[in-house]
């Protein structure tokens, strides 16, 4: 027995066990997120559930669970219930319904049941009754109407796209110009100077505004006619309980009959839904549609943070390791830096709010954007402030990793450089930093991983539930660092816990989480590939 302990075998088992346990936990978490997140885009068949009391329900089965029976004697048969997504929120008020399996008489999958994904009110489940163009009935009866709908849908979606483009791009550009002109006028008014020339300038600017306003009115009337056109085509859908609903085809995003689709078609639909998710804009207070703005915001924020944190961290570490005099002061500074990484992130957020936004941003506003006041430009949350706050949060990680990398550069190599007549600066710049580059990038990888997952400090430094514009667009100067942005981590919190329709939003939370994990993996992978290439180039001699 004593030998058994001495041999070290139990220790190997314990170490292996600890690793296995951690891996299982992580693997299980990833599996849950993947299963729930990826399943969200698969369109299951529409079930027509006949209950024993004669009523019928139509919808997709989303879950099945055991009904708890506390106090029941052992041997009692288990009871189950299923969750149906019945949709039609505008009619029923609720999207989901639990049904006890024992109440169900029969489940059918009618071939002609249709699922309409709408821009508002969520999914609609039912049967198509009629298609109209204006007052003219184009098609009646199910099959005929379905074919007519398939013809009409691309056209209405084309119109919808045009409306969106005009609204966002054209009218957006006009508004942008008008706002710019308004600020120019305000600036002139604030400037003390020659009154007559100022008045003339203001006058010309006001004329320009008038021109823009005229353009605006033109676009608006164009939009109005498009809306009219969009509303012309109508569809009448009957629900399972016999109610009829008339709506515009323009309100439909996607229409399909899952029970009548081949596996291939379902796979194509799956891909199109995933694509919408990653490239589209959110609808219905973020519970539907895509999350592209959040992906964009997250990646851009992390990139800005990396650009800031890398030079700062490396320079600080260089001073600490290469130039600072060794002593107790240096040791205290080092301990402080290490402990900085342990400060709760919300504290950094508050610091960012107080220092970056109010102090620096407020000063910038006073000096450069005084004409826009009291509306703040930089003096409010924005992607630049959020990125800087995160850079502050992650700079200790980079410093520590860089310092370790610098310390690992062999003394022999430095001496070799000195012996060839290089100064200390030349040695550091040409030999030490390149040799420490892999370690520096390791620090950056850790910083990115930490920053991508951080939410708390962002909530007070510039993340919003729904950002109307991306931080990069076609308006000069193209990159708008002062703009608020959307973020995947905050999106998860918002959709999961702040949404009016939590049940409908749940799959969205999983899908978003999966995407966030993928982005972290992707960013890390990119950094790791760069690091490995550098490592090959700068491998130090080992013989």
């Amino acid at each position: 027995m004593k030998n058994f302990w001495k041999s070290g075998d139990p220790f190997i088992w314990v170490t292996g066990g600890a690793l296995t346990f951690s891996l299982l936990m992580i693997g299980g978490l990833l599996f849950l997120i993947m299963a729930k997140g990826l399943g969200f885009f698969w369109s299951s068949d529409i079930a027509e559930v006949k209950l024993k009391d004669g009523s019928k329900l139509l919808g997709q089965i989303t879950a099945r669970e055991k009904i708890p029976q506390p106090g029941a004697p052992p041997g009692t048969p288990k009871r189950y219930r299923i969750q149906l997504q019945i949709g039609n929120r505008d009619i029923y008020g609720l999207d989901f319904r639990w049904v006890n399996e024992e109440e169900i008489a029969k489940i059918d999958y009618p071939r002609n049941a249709v699922l309409l994904e709408r821009r508002e009110w969520g999914n609609m489940y039912g049967f198509i009754k009629e298609i109209r163009e204006g007052e003219v009935v184009v098609a009646q009866e199910n099959e005929e109407s379905w074919i007519a709908l398939k013809d009409l849908l691309p056209r209405t979606q084309g119109i919808y796209k045009t409306i969106k483009r005009i609204g966002k791009k054209d009218i957006g550009a006009i508004n942008y110009k008008i706002e710019g002109l308004r600020l120019d006028i305000r600036k002139l008014e604030l400037q003390a100077g020659d009154q007559t020339s100022m008045q003339a300038n203001i006058k010309s600017l006001e004329d320009q505004i008038e021109v823009q306003k005229k353009l605006y009115r033109n676009k608006e009337s164009e939009l109005a006619s498009l809306y009219e056109k969009l509303a012309e085509d109508k569809i009448i859908v009957s629900t399972i309980d016999g109610r009829e609903k008339e709506m515009s085809i323009g309100a439909i995003v996607r229409a399909y009959r899952p029970n009548d689709m081949s596996l291939l078609n379902k796979a194509l639909l799956y891909i199109s839904k995933v694509w919408e998710f990653v490239s589209g804009e959110p609808r219905e207070s973020n519970t539907e549609g895509g999350i592209f703005p959040a992906i964009f915001g997250t990646v851009m924020m992390v990139l800005i943070m990396s650009i800031v944190v890398l030079p700062f961290g490396v320079l600080a570490a260089l001073y600490l390791r290469e130039y600072a005099k060794h002593g107790s002061l240096l040791r205290i500074v080092r301990i402080c830096v290490n402990n900085l990484a342990g400060v709760p992130s919300i504290v950094f957020g508050i610091f960012g709010l107080g220092f970056f936004i109010y102090a620096i941003g407020g000063t910038i506003d006073n000096i450069f954007y005084s004409e826009a006041l009291p509306t703040p430009t930089f003096g409010t949350g924005g992607i630049i402030w959020a990125s800087l706050t995160l850079a502050l949060l992650t700079v200790p990680v980079v410093i520590v990793a860089t310092e370790e990398g610098l310390a690992a550069v062999p003394r022999a190599i430095r001496e070799g450089s000195f012996a060839l007549g290089a100064t200390k600066f030349e040695t550091i710049w040409r030999i030490v930093i390149p040799s420490a580059m892999p370690a520096i990038l390791t620090g950056l990888i850790l910083a990115i991983a930490r920053a991508t997952g951080e939410v708390a400090p962002l909530m007070i430094t510039g993340v919003v539930k729904l950002a109307p514009e991306l931080p990069i667009d076609g308006h000069f100067p193209f990159i708008h660092l002062e703009r608020k942005f959307m973020h995947l981590g905050f999106h998860i919190y918002d959709v999961g816990f702040q949404s009016p329709n939590v049940e409908a939003a749940k799959p969205m939370v999983y899908a978003t989480t999966l995407l966030l994990i993928l982005i972290v993996v992707f960013l890390n992978l990119a950094a790791i590939i760069i690091r490995n290439r550098l490592r090959k180039r700068y491998a130090t001699s080992a013989f």
Binding site: E415, A419, L420, G421, A422, E426, R430, T540, S541
Partner: protein, 287 residues
Amino acid sequence: MEFPLENKKLGENEGYDTIIKTDEFEEKRVGQQVDIPNPIVKIENLTLKYSGTPALIDINMEIPKNKATAFIGPSGCGKSTLIRCLNRLNELIDGVTIEGSIKISDMDIFDPKLDITELRKRVGMVFQKSNPFPKSIYDNVAYGPRIAGIKSHSVLDEIVERSLRSAALWDEVKERLNESAIGFSGGQQQRLCIARAIAVEPEALLMDEPCSALDPIATGKIEDLITELKQNYTIVIVTHNMQQASRVSDYTAFMYLGRLIEYDITEKIFLTPLKKQTEDYVSGKFG
């Protein structure tokens, strides 16, 4: 093996100076025994202390131009410290104090006005463990010239080729100049370091036990190279290997406990040494 001072305990106020004046060392007046023709380095009254502890005591010697001079002696005798004084590499260590003077080609190297990088360009060094930079072979050799400000590609190409040829490495690496030096054998790496050192065309080349990590074949190649190089460069080599010293060097200095005990033509040191310690050491009685 006998170590004359092994059993002698150091008293509170005893330093090197007290120990050295024991009976066995009484024959004193240590140092250079021979007139050096055409000296390039002149060391006068050099004393070096690491945080107060003397490592070199009152060294006086001259080193001849375009000859190979070997420093031998047991570990810790100060020979590496002495060689590192010649390019002032010791100053990278905290707490070093140096007295006395070293002149290289009549230039006082401790002159505060002297540009230390200029000195190091004139006095190249090869280290005990080969230390190629984590760069390509080409960049390794071109490092010194680039530091010196040479930017022209054709000039650099020429320097790299000439240096690698001088280091007898060109034929082995000419096909893969852009590869990293890391895949090289120890001997090749050491020759690369020699090529790198002579790329800046130094007047003197310091070698700090350049073969201690190499096998006999690689050592033989380096020794051939040293014999070759001393036509054009002044070579100072520190070695633990007495056969090596007798093979490659023209002059040999024996050092012990921070002092220069005997310095003479190599044959004399190995065949007819004047001092008993020298004889004991070269005949393998201690060390």
